[in-house]
Subunit: 219 residues, 3 copies
Amino acid sequence: MLHELFSPSVQHALDLAGIFVFAISGALLAVRKNFDVFGIAVLAEVTALGGGLFRDLIIGAVPPAAFTDLGYFVMPLVATALVFFLHPEVERIQLGVNVFDAAGLGLFCVTGTIKAYEYGLSLTSSAVLGLATAVGGGVLRDVLANEIPSLVRWDRDLYAVPAMVGATMVALCIQWDVLNTATGALAVVTAFSLRLLALRFHWRAPRAWNRRSSTAEEA
Amino acid sequence: MLHELFSPSVQHALDLAGIFVFAISGALLAVRKNFDVFGIAVLAEVTALGGGLFRDLIIGAVPPAAFTDLGYFVMPLVATALVFFLHPEVERIQLGVNVFDAAGLGLFCVTGTIKAYEYGLSLTSSAVLGLATAVGGGVLRDVLANEIPSLVRWDRDLYAVPAMVGATMVALCIQWDVLNTATGALAVVTAFSLRLLALRFHWRAPRAWNRRSSTAEEA
Amino acid sequence: MLHELFSPSVQHALDLAGIFVFAISGALLAVRKNFDVFGIAVLAEVTALGGGLFRDLIIGAVPPAAFTDLGYFVMPLVATALVFFLHPEVERIQLGVNVFDAAGLGLFCVTGTIKAYEYGLSLTSSAVLGLATAVGGGVLRDVLANEIPSLVRWDRDLYAVPAMVGATMVALCIQWDVLNTATGALAVVTAFSLRLLALRFHWRAPRAWNRRSSTAEEA
């Protein structure tokens, strides 16, 4: 069975890890925006579960995993407690957060693509939905925080591309019938590494042509 | 049958009342933001129906009640007309709006939890979804009005906690098999009263620890 | 069969055309907001597919057409490429964009209403959902761009009313059992023409009564 690309318990542990690190990023933004403790919890939950929720609604997997697995719901609350009491320390380990977030991105783009394919979507649609799973939570986080999603801002390091590469690799593996633990893990690691490289070398995507040298309408 | 906690006609009347008062709050925000009459109607509909719509999508109850019961759709239009012609009077009775809104909050967290449980969610997930039903419309209202959701702002009186308490009471009643009209009504009244007390005494939730005495990044 | 109001291939071509012009409007806003190339693609996709996605989730048509028809997904990428390389030219032909966007509005309010009715919604609900199909993508576009949706702003020319008229015409045709290619096309053309007239003569909707002569809280 495709979904058991990784053993179920490993898969579940990785899912929880991905949820946890995404929740940390949501909670930290909430602290920066001066939200109260419930606001921190809301943003942590939305960031961690939003992408998967969107995917599950699209493929008709209702109720979504976020509402059937208690661990998925509790993990962001743990992240909230951690950030609430320790946030200066957490911010200091921003590097660590970035690394974990990159790991979540790599994992979610792969598992999202596989789950979508199992629910009968075409390979292209599955890869697109895998990408949406990986980046959706962050977009919802930024919308709730009343900011332009960092996904679409030109002055942020590449985020979509690593997930796109990972999702595409999985789709190609399915196409060629070579998806297994090794190739799946390779896709995760590739997306993860590309994101880290983008952060390290500040890789950015171009803006529309004539914009590049002009002054921006807004920063 | 659980959902007939209250008699169907009473339940329906209470639903419409909750929808109406939530719609008023959406319409008033639209007037303050200087929206045109369609904008007022859109914000009234979204505020009143958004929470239930989200719940119904999650539990797979499609088409959602908002699209099968004409009254659910018409009620916000009535609220729109009222606010459109009378809004200074409506604002003057802000106290009344707050009271009705608190009643809607109490009712929706209870009926939302029950409906989610009937669709097979666990007790914890049902309570979470009951909470989301009660607060979801307000979040969508604020997102469309391009504001930070008042749900997550530290400088607003407690809103989530009363709904959380009401939803939890219902879940515990189901767990202990003592959910009936009396205990259901008690949960509604408890959530309702807590919200009124929060408004009266300006109860607020704490922000993250070291933030409390620091200047905020933004108000 | 109702949905084959137009022949399938004509219907599909019209759908793609509507998606394309909506995508252009999303991509242009993204350029104005200084998004990078992925941001342009995201906004193009969301604007073009958001309304139909919402409709399909509501009526339970999962996975939504946007994820089963590759052309629906590719069209916004074509629009993105066009805007990316040629955007000053595209902006210069803003009139053309407005005309195409009006055509998309007219078409989507009609096909959205028909599809909703086929999935068992009442006539009123179908018309409401047809309206939501036509305007939903634009609302999501503005939310992601962190702006107040132009749908609800008083200082924009009428947008909802033409779609409302078109959707209502279709609902009445179904009611009176006179829906056919001619009457369906008439509804499309009516909505289309009303939107063009609104643009030409700057028709606007009123704001709440006492607001009309007062200074606005915000522009």
